[in-house]
Amino acid sequence: MMYRLAGFTGLKAQIFKISFMAIIDALLIWMFFASMAKEDSSTLSAVIAAIFFFTNLIYFAKFTLPLKFLLPGLILLITFVVVPVAYTIQMSGYVFKTGNEISKADALPQIEANGLTLDDTAPTFDLVLGKVDGKWAALLTSQVDQSVLLATEEKSVVLPAGSYRADDLGIARSTDGFDPVTEDFAANNEESIINLRFPYKDNSFISPQGIDIAAVLTQSLVYDKERDAFTDTASGITYIDNGRGNYAAESDPSMTLTPGWRAWNAFENYTKLLSDPNVRGPFIGVFIWTVSFALISVLMMFAVGLLLAVILNQKIALRRFYRSILILPYAIPSFMSILIWAGMFNRQFGAINALFGTEIDFFNSPTLAKMVILIVNLWLGFPYFYLISSGALQSIPSELEEAAAIDGANNRQIMSKIKLPLILQILSPLLIASFAFNFNNFNIIYLLTGGGPTNVLQGETAGATDILITYTYKTAFGSQEQNLGLASAISMVIFLIVGSISLWSLRRSKVLETM
């Protein structure tokens, strides 16, 4: 092997490396320019530039040998895991929910636009856009009485009948001094058209509401940049920034303008988690079930898996056959098995009820639903535990067992005093990993019970089988009203819990010291 390798050193390797890097660099440079050419993609450009810089630095400088191996993984991990996680953490500090989603800069023009009131006394107009003396103008035909206006940005004049040419539908198309523009031209100049305001009466103006339609509007909500406040011209109410993503009336803070925006309020979501009974109440119950679900699941799977491993480690008939069948659940994609189990537990048509001739409503009883989840999870998970226990059993030196047998220990003693502690020691990292996995086992809950049953009539907002992650999912995305800020805060709490459990147990199992 070494000789084959010898050919791949020196110049050849160098050329290979250089051309490989050249391709990567070319790709990155192209991506960088392509991204720079688009608006609003400075972050993306910066990311590409950073990848370019570090890739070249690391592969051409000598001092960074481990990084050469780590870099590809590191780039993927940072870009697609760490950055979203960081963004989620950041989101948890914002009022970020339905009604408060866009940025303040985007919200301002919309509040202004919402402050436009349609003048109900005035007609809507069929609009023909054009130019008068090179400036935007409009030929407007009233949809009510077919009277015609010629409007420029300075003034609008009623045209007497006969001074314009109308089409079959009675819409004025042209008049002297007015050059109609083509619809293509208008489309390509949309940005200037949407801001056109042709004066109509004292405070009202005519504004295009499409390429060939216009309406009479008044601005009833006026923005004062100095004070960062809106004033309603009709009622005189002033709305000021309430620090939580809305303009609220000075006199009555519950009166707010829409839309709001996502506003920085570092602790709002966390305090809500602690103080709002609607959130806190279910949170504690859900937390307890999450821990018990993960713990019981792991213990059950481990017990069954280990027992199976002990039995199948002996020389019994049909051993290989048994093994092949018993690891099937691990090989079948779990989303399918879960859905199939869900169908099997159906009250009316499920195979389980058909088998026993009953009509038990498994998913409507909290206790039964929990049991179903544990049973299905056992089905999904015991083969994995069988496999790892079996591997662990085989890795225990047989001398240990023989020595104990000579000392007069019986099989049961050997198992409980010698093998079990060893197996536990070997498998503890996997058991903990499994606990962490089940702690966040979204699929089984979501696909099997959807978190239910929820006794809404008793005022429950979380289901009996909801675990933290499904509860969070519901909070964030589950209904018409989503609350990303609060969901991010819950994610952070979950992260802190699972992270500290993992780190603590890792320290305890002394894995870190041997690393």
Partner: protein, 414 residues
């Protein structure tokens, strides 16, 4: 030494390669209006307007459809101006949420549009006095009965149905009497037929302070028609019972246009009408919802605001557009002229049924100030009364207490 050459040659080669690509002239930007739709409407719209450049001259229309309404909703919830749509189509609930969050632009309806679209349709597209979309078609259910079992004439009263069910239950192996295919949403006609419902009306105005779900009339009728000795008599089914109807095991049903094909394919012959009420002259009222087309606020960022408005107000809202969509979807159109021109008998039948319906005020029904929204509360009620056999009166009172909070909150904030 070697290293330096390496770096230099790599950079040179890379720059050369990249500049060749970047140097290519950028394509002229064409103004494309992106329309989002779900898996049902999407293919229909694709057939009708994808690639069209004449509806809004100067703009090209592109229809993108999602694999399910859920997927559409989920993507819309998370979308930003970077990749969001210019025109969105979907249920009326999108209007209020989108308007609240500033993701939709207000539409100023022309006089013609106002006269064409029923007031209830425009109201469904409104939020705080502004209109945010145009109604496309009516989402509602009709009452259907298996003509092979019951005969060609529709039952006249609710009692007729219950009596027929009880008399033939064992002989024909019925697993239920009436099936609300669409669960709690679809079951509304049954509630209203029995004197229940969400909120009361004063004339044509909703009176949100009076919840009907625990009215004494409704309590009495639940007991009379749906229960036997406090337990469900099996007549009312709402959970996954559609298959049983298709198998001829349930004689009556409530569903919409989207299920008709499937029922016909299953070999069931059926009539369509309004849900029979307590007397021959009263009918149950189903939810009537509208789907709409909305101009998003992203359209302005993409420079297609005017085109998107034109598409929405002058094609989606037009008689021609609504008829074309209705022909493919079998849903009754929203505009008056288009409704008058519908010829398809099924669409007509559902359209007529819709006339007796109740406007579905989604923000009120989705409100969950009391802890859960209308649909979840109703699901709890059905489970408790019909599956678990709990006291109907107490259950309805508990439910009404939650709903009263929801509706009061909606009423106060709107």
């Amino acid at each position: 030494m070697k290293k330096r050459y390496g770096v230099a040659s790599v950079i040179a080669a890379a720059a050369l390669a990249a500049s060749a690509v970047v140097g290519a002239p950028a394509q002229a930007a064409n103004r494309t209006i992106v329309v989002w739709a779900d898996e049902q409407r999407g293919p229909q719209l694709q057939k009708l307007i994808d690639g069209n450049t004449s509806i809004a001259p100067g703009y090209k229309i592109e229809v993108k459809f999602f694999s399910a309404l859920d997927a559409l909703q989920s993507a819309w919830d998370k979308s930003t101006a970077a990749g969001g749509p210019d025109v969105l189509t979907g249920p009326a609930s999108m209007a209020s949420a989108g308007a609240k969050s500033g993701k939709l632009s207000r539409i100023i309806p022309s006089s013609t549009l106002k006269s064409e679209i029923p007031t209830a349709g425009l109201a469904a597209m409104s939020y705080k006095g502004g209109i945010y979309g145009v109604p496309l078609d009516v989402d509602t259910t009709g009452f259907i009965w298996n003509t092979g079992l019951y005969g060609a004439t529709a039952p006249a009263t609710f009692a007729d149905m219950v009596d027929y069910y009880k008399a033939n239950k064992s002989a024909k192996g019925f697993t239920g009497g009436i099936c609300a295919f669409e669960g709690t949403w679809g079951s509304h006609a049954v509630l209203t037929a029995l004197g229940g419902g969400a909120w009361d009306y004063k004339g044509s105005n909703a009176n949100y302070s009076k919840v009907l779900l625990n009215s004494s009339k409704f309590k009495a009728n639940v007991d009379k028609y749906l229960l036997t000795d406090g337990k469900s008599n099996g007549f009312f089914q709402w959970d996954g019972c559609g298959d049983a109807f298709k198998a001829g095991k349930i004689p009556f049903g409530i569903t919409g246009a989207w299920n008709f094909d499937g029922i016909t394919k299953a070999g069931i012959k059926y009539g369509i009408g309004a849900t029979p009420g307590l007397t021959a002259s009263t009918k149950g009222a189903q939810w009537v919802n509208y789907s709409g087309a909305y101009v998003t606020s992203y359209a302005k960022d993409h420079g297609v605001d005017l085109g998107a408005r034109k598409l929405v107000t002058q094609w989606f809202a037009s008689t021609e557009g609504q008829l074309a969509m209705s022909q493919l979807s079998k849903r009754p159109p929203a505009s008056k002229t288009a409704t008058a021109k519908v010829t398809d008998p099924q669409t007509l039948a559902v359209g007529r049924a819709a006339a007796t319906g109740t406007p579905q005020v989604s923000p009120a029904l989705d409100n969950k100030t009391g802890g859960a929204n209308w649909y979840d509360v109703l699901g709890g009620v059905y489970t408790d009364i019909f599956t678990k056999g709990k006291s109907a009166d107490a259950t309805l009172d508990a439910a009404a207490a939650i709903l009263a909070k929801n509706f009061a909150n909606y009423d106060a904030t709107n």
